[in-house]
């Protein structure tokens, strides 16, 4: 155990920067492109039928990029991912559960 921990320790304390400035800037470019795509999807009528899934994929990708690269989860100890991941999943669970249960309870919205 203690040797394993020691090697993890070494990993945690590696002084090497986790990614170069170049990578950070590239990520920023990708984020911008994805955002432009989202807005494009919003305005183009042909995309309307698949707007929701498409937006979910695009914003999901942005979310993941920021978390992995800017918040360093890709480089840091995986324990951090193990903490954040489940809590985030529970958050998504709450949103979906509330939407389903209360949509049933309240019936069709008046404006629909």
């Amino acid at each position: 155990m203690s040797t394993a921990q020691a090697s993890e320790l070494a990993h945690e304390h590696e002084e090497a920067p986790r990614a170069s400035t170049r990578v950070y800037v590239e990520i920023a470019v990708v984020l911008t492109v994805l955002t432009v795509l989202e807005i494009w999807a919003f305005y183009v009528p042909a995309v309307q039928p698949i707007l929701i899934p498409l937006l979910m994929v695009l914003s999901g990708a942005k979310f993941a990029l920021v978390v992995m690269f800017y918040m360093h989860l890709k480089f840091d100890h995986r324990a951090y991912t193990a903490i954040f991941g489940p809590l985030l999943t529970l958050g998504a669970f709450i949103v979906i559960a509330l939407m389903i249960i209360l949509a049933y309870f309240l019936g069709a919205p008046p404006t629909a």
Partner: protein
Amino acid sequence: MAVAIPQEAVRGRENYLREGGLLSWLITIDHKRIGVLYGLTSLGFMGLAGIEALLMRIQLAQPDNHFLSADVYNQFFTMHGTTMIFLVIMPLGLGFFGNVAMPLQIGARDVAFPRLNALSYWIFLFGALFMYSSFLFGGGPDAGWFGYANLTERFFTPGTRVDFWAIGLIILGFSSILGSLNFFVTIVNMRAPGMTFMRMPIFVWNILVASILVLVAFPPLTVGLIFLVMDRFIGTHFYSTVAGATPILWQHLFWIFGHPEVYILALPAFGIISETIPCFSRKPLFGYAAMAYATALIGFISYGVWGHHMFASGMGPIADAAFSLSTMIIAIPTGIKVYSWVATTWGGDFVKNTSFYYALAFVIQFTIGGLTGVMHAQPAMDLQQNGSYFIVAHFHYVIGGGSLFAFLSGIYYWWPKMTGKMMDERLGKLNFWLICIGFNMTFFPMHILGLGGMPRRVYTYGAGFHWAFWNMFETVGAFVMGVGILVFVIAIIQSLMSAETAVADPWDGRTLEWSIPSPPPIYNFAEIPHVHSKDAFWEMKHGRAQESRQPAAQPEHGAGGHGIHMPAPSLFPILLAAGLALVGIGAIAWLRITFVGVLIVYLAIIGMGFEYGTYGEHPSKERGDDAFPLDSRKVGMWTFIGSESLFFASLIGTYMVYKGRDLVGPTAKEILEIPLTSFSTFVLLMSSLLMVLALAAFERGNIRAGRNWLFGTAGLGCVFLGGQAYEFTKFFREGVTLQHNLFGQTFYTLVGFHGLHVLLGVIWLLTLAFASFKGMVPKKRALAVEFGGLYWHFVDIVWIVIFSLIYLMDKVTGA
């Protein structure tokens, strides 16, 4: 072969109880002392809640009684429940037992964040006093501990009673979240070398899972309470049907919290029993691994059963069936636990002391409560039982006969360790029998009354129902129990006045706390132990681990504990907590006080941040031991962010639920402006780039560049806020106010809370930037920047979700 156990007590300077005068308790950050403070406070509130209960029982003893008015009765049942749950059982389980026993059991010198620990306590105390002060200003809260909407709306309950309740609970929630975050990080990261998860004492497992539950359960409650406060103070309609909303939303938010909460109350009790039953049966715990997994499973499932409190609300057959099923499934891991305890006692060589008696009574009573729980997990049956005394019987068996009895077992068990004194066994047996008989006399007949139709939460009943006999019987029982509690208090006082005679290991214990003197020295362990198996101390005393036991002493940890550096006491926790209380007082009394409170909070946070020179450094590096693979503060930060995700999830969920249900326009579809928001989104994304560049610069030691990037990040944050201010004013001009329609209230609340986070982030980053001018953020403290950065990026990812879910998807209603 026996190992030398330091049987001589540590007296004088090094005994944690003796160090310093009375005032030193105000600034203490020692987990043992904080535990004692929690214990005393909770016992005090237990006295109050007990008196409320006895008065209610007198009122109910006879039909058509007028001892208490209906109004006073409502205040008492509300505050009795609220007090027992939030101010007694929860702080006893986590705050008291968690603090007193957990760090010792994992072989740590303290919790991960000692000052945060003190902060949790002071917030708890002030929050509790704040809530109780309601009685001085026109009566106590009176809408039930569950505070069902829309009874809690200002129209139905005017005055300040519910205000005290709701704001008090928000304050108490802060305390619970901070405390649990601390415990979580401590257990994840501070265990003694060699103590893997599967070697942790079961008590620690239970504290771990209970802490996680607090972190996931309190954010939805806080959101629910914020809506309530908004409804009451600024006239929004989150829970009122006049605007197309529904009071049922409150029930969901409350019970998403509420059911995990009952396990927050139960798990520490399970943990205690899993220590005392093996110890006094003189056998190892039966099925350790099953017990550990069952604990984790209970925690997990308990998040998906809340609807069983709402069968009567008409959720529909599918939701009813799903919640019924999940509730019955949760009985399985619970049953595994009961089975393990029973099997542990099988063929045991019992030590028949008070602690063991309480533990056995726990197992029986908790099982009765669990079984009635499975009964009303069945929706058809629950419709009969819901709102009746049968429910009152159920939860008193699980919380009173369960948690409380386990806590009494735990107090008798750990008392010698905490105080260095023994408790009298004759008084112990006396209080056990009085409490046990009194408890069952009071609560068992409630099953009968409940099935006979007696409703809960009524202040009196007619003679024609034939409920009088059992009610009188229960009242007598309640007084027997009350006498038992008095005897218990006498036993405590008697023990405190006796001479210190407890040895280090009076019960021949299995876990590490028994390897150090009673009461423990301030630093707990002179040498940090190395652990080779579960039941670590037992192995040291009796087992094979003996030979391989390595001396674990670090060079700086000399024998006898000299030269161990414990962090200095701090004034900031109590200051910060007082500031927070002022915020609450101001909200009710005079808004200006709120701003003073906010200022105090801010200054105290800064003071706390820079109080120790090690701010933002790698502590493990400096300590040079290999026990901590992760940085505690970073674990804490990620946990905090995870908990915050649930806060935003509750806000977003509410937005989605009410989306498209406005009774009047303009709605999201008609008013949201995509071009402006696209620009803001871009700005926030770029700020994240600057933030990560700032961190890289600080890590390289290029402070000037780092500072400039920080200013850049904060600047972009301000641009974003400016955009939001513009958007809000524009909507206001078009008539969309917070009170106007569902869109207005949910939109401003969600986006506004996000904006508030941006604002806090800007303040945080600017504080760091200015501190760096003074050389307070050198290269070796780059972690300080990393924490601010994590928070900042979190705000960014929340916005990524809001942008697509709220702004871009608005074309599709009801999605």
